[in-house]
Amino acid sequence: MSKPYTRPLDLKHGLVNLTHGSGGRAMAQLVSELFAAEFANDWLAQGNDQAILPPPGGRIAIATDSHVISPLFFPGGDIGSLAVHGTVNDLAMGGATPLYLSAGFILEEGLPLADLARIVRSMAAAARAAGVAIVTGDTKVVERGKGDGVFISTTGVGVVADGVNLSGDQARPGDVILLSGTLGDHGMAVMSQREGLGFASPILSDSAALHTLAAALMAASPGLLLMRDPTRGGLATTLNEIAQQSGVGMRLQESAIPVQASVRAACEFLGLDPLYIANEGKLVAICPAAEAAAALAALQAHPLGQQAAIIGEVVHDAHQFVRVQTDFGGERLLDWLSGEMLPRIC
């Protein structure tokens, strides 16, 4: 059988153009030579407009996420792996085992095909490592100037075992708050790259799939109440969300919250607070006090949770304030993030 495309896609020097989103031959070639080749699995290979999947058993979890990031490549990751990790983690935080992903690409005219191929390969590798199959997708191309290189939307499907009921409204006074590792690594890695800030020690993003860490935690703490990944808005925003959902307050110990020295220094330099900086490979969990030691041990035994710590407890508070006991001996509010984090002027 002859190949439908006379010349292979020039993944070294070619650029995305409007024909790659037109629905015609060029688009079909991009899909088959790049996306289908890299994401290779039986469902995608069928080439239909949908993936028809076997019933997974248990309750179905679904999560969707859109990924917009500049730069597309940053120390420790790129938009491709991030698009997988973000959605896998959204599933995992509900106690689900992630199974399938869909991927929607919005490409900007002029994007080098080499960059796109690098992103797609990274995405495929991240999906394989996380044990999820990218089973369906979509590609659109927008005119130059109307995108930021690549936007990727991913929807994930997973399955939640019977008896697992994690939810943000379950925190109660006396429960213990755990954090799986250092804060702010992703946000500062991206910011230092974007702003061209050459710090002496490069900061790497913590972008990672957390489902095995989450599974280890659930096994160690049968009474686990909730998990959440502190992405945009950081730990502060995540805890405020949970406090509001559960109608409780929280009291944290600043000295217990792990932050890498290089991240702390970079934040200090820019006048930012690491507690508000985005993470892509960390989770916050709340469990009953009686299970806290076992939960902490399980986190610390996992490669992604070696620096896990108990950072505080849930308390009664009609105002649902998250407060921090500072190293300094005072107490302060840890408020919601307001607007955008902005560096100070002087």
Partner: protein, 372 residues
């Protein structure tokens, strides 16, 4: 973290607070103004008020560069930014300052204005080099700390003959504002100042001597770390106890008597004193701001774009003015935390993280219970 952690040690803070408690005269009140937003931020973030005796009252001053920017000036920046031929470059916090007609530079950006957030004047110069067919305007704001980089940018622009670059100069000066506050007489009763540190690294401690002497108020120039602020309070209480009204430098690790000569020279070369300048909350303050030097007139955005200055009154319900003058505290304002929040600021004190209202809202409002 070296040079940071040393100034955030809780054990030393508690010792220092105990020392201050022993020093103070319980029969009187000490009304100390922290001039800088950096101090306000540190006080709120580390909960310093809770460590100090009740009769020490820390009063927020007008030292937040974003807070004191009058609405009329932001309006002008927005007008410039909305011009199709202009790229307006600005430091981050300025983007959120509310101006007339519910506009801000952020809103202007949403309406299509090309507003770029920059970290330094170098970024603005680079944008000018990269966009030769656009007029690139640097919206220069800030105290003496941010003034030398603006001067340097002017020198650089002239050297490169960067014809599409100009500066909208709104730099303000600290000592005249301090003098203005004290000259207001009984309106603000103060016993001393925690003086600005970053500003003083540039201008030195000398310019405050005349203010301290003329108005018989002690000034202690202090760093922005919590232990710096506590030590400054101790030094002020000590001066008051001994009846001295001198300028002392707590921030001796960076501040000298005469400041940074090179930086001052660049400013003198590129900018001149304005006769008067409006400060938000303080009104017109004589000799309190800088304009572009006539030698650099070709880079002066006010001349290039014939920008007129219009006074625009603050929102009626907003108490920013009284707060910046030290007459009121954020929680005294009726709209604080209700209509005016960091997400929807009515006044400038709620915009910058260094503003008195934002600092209190973010870090301290649990003290009085919820105002959310």
């Amino acid at each position: 973290m070296k040079y940071v952690d040393e100034f955030r040690r809780g054990d030393i803070a508690r010792g220092m607070a105990a020392q201050i408690s022993r020093l103070v005269d319980p029969a009187r009140e000490y009304r100390l103004m922290e001039f800088c937003g950096g101090h306000t931020h540190a006080i709120a973030r580390y909960g310093l008020t809770g460590l100090l005796p009740d009769n020490i009252r820390l009063i927020h001053g007008p030292g937040c560069p974003v807070c004191v920017l009058p609405i009329g000036r932001v309006d002008s920046a927005i007008e410039l930014a909305l011009r199709p031929d202009v790229i307006l470059c600005s430091y981050g916090d300025t983007l959120r300052v509310p101006a007339s007609n519910k506009m801000s530079l952020y809103q202007a950006r949403a309406k299509g204005a090309d507003v770029r957030m920059v970290y330094s004047t170098n970024d603005a110069l680079q944008i000018a080099r990269d966009n030769p067919h656009k007029q690139v305007v640097f919206f220069a704001i800030g105290f003496e700390t941010t003034t030398p980089p603006t001067g340097l940018a002017l020198l650089q622009a002239r050297q490169e003959q960067l014809a599409n670059f100009s500066v909208f100069c709104n730099h303000v000066l600290t000592p005249p504002a301090m003098r203005h506050l004290l000259a207001a007489g009984d309106a603000v009763q103060l016993d001393g100042f925690i003086g600005p540190s970053h500003v003083s690294t540039v201008i030195g401690s000398a310019p405050y001597a005349a203010v301290a002497e003329e108005f018989a108020k002690p000034v202690v120039i202090a760093g922005f770390e919590p232990l710096d602020v506590l030590q400054a309070v101790a030094m002020l209480v000590e001066q008051i106890k001994q009846g001295r009204t001198e300028v002392e430098t707590q921030f001796s690790r960076a501040v000298t008597h005469e400041g940074n000569q090179k930086a001052r020279q660049r400013v003198a070369q590129t900018m001149v004193l304005r006769d008067s300048f409006e400060w938000r909350g303080l009104g017109q303050v004589p000799h309190s701001a800088l304009a572009i030097h006539p030698d650099f007139a070709e880079f002066d955005a006010e001349l290039r774009f014939a920008l007129p200055y219009r006074h625009v009154p603050d929102h009626k319900a907003c108490e920013c003015g009284a707060i910046l003058r030290g007459q009121k505290q954020p929680q005294d304002c009726k709209v604080f935390g209700i209509v005016c929040t960091p997400d929807n600021p009515l006044g400038s004190c709620m915009v910058s993280s260094e503003g008195a209202c934002a600092a209190h809202y973010h870090y301290g409002r649990f003290v009085q219970g919820a105002t959310a």
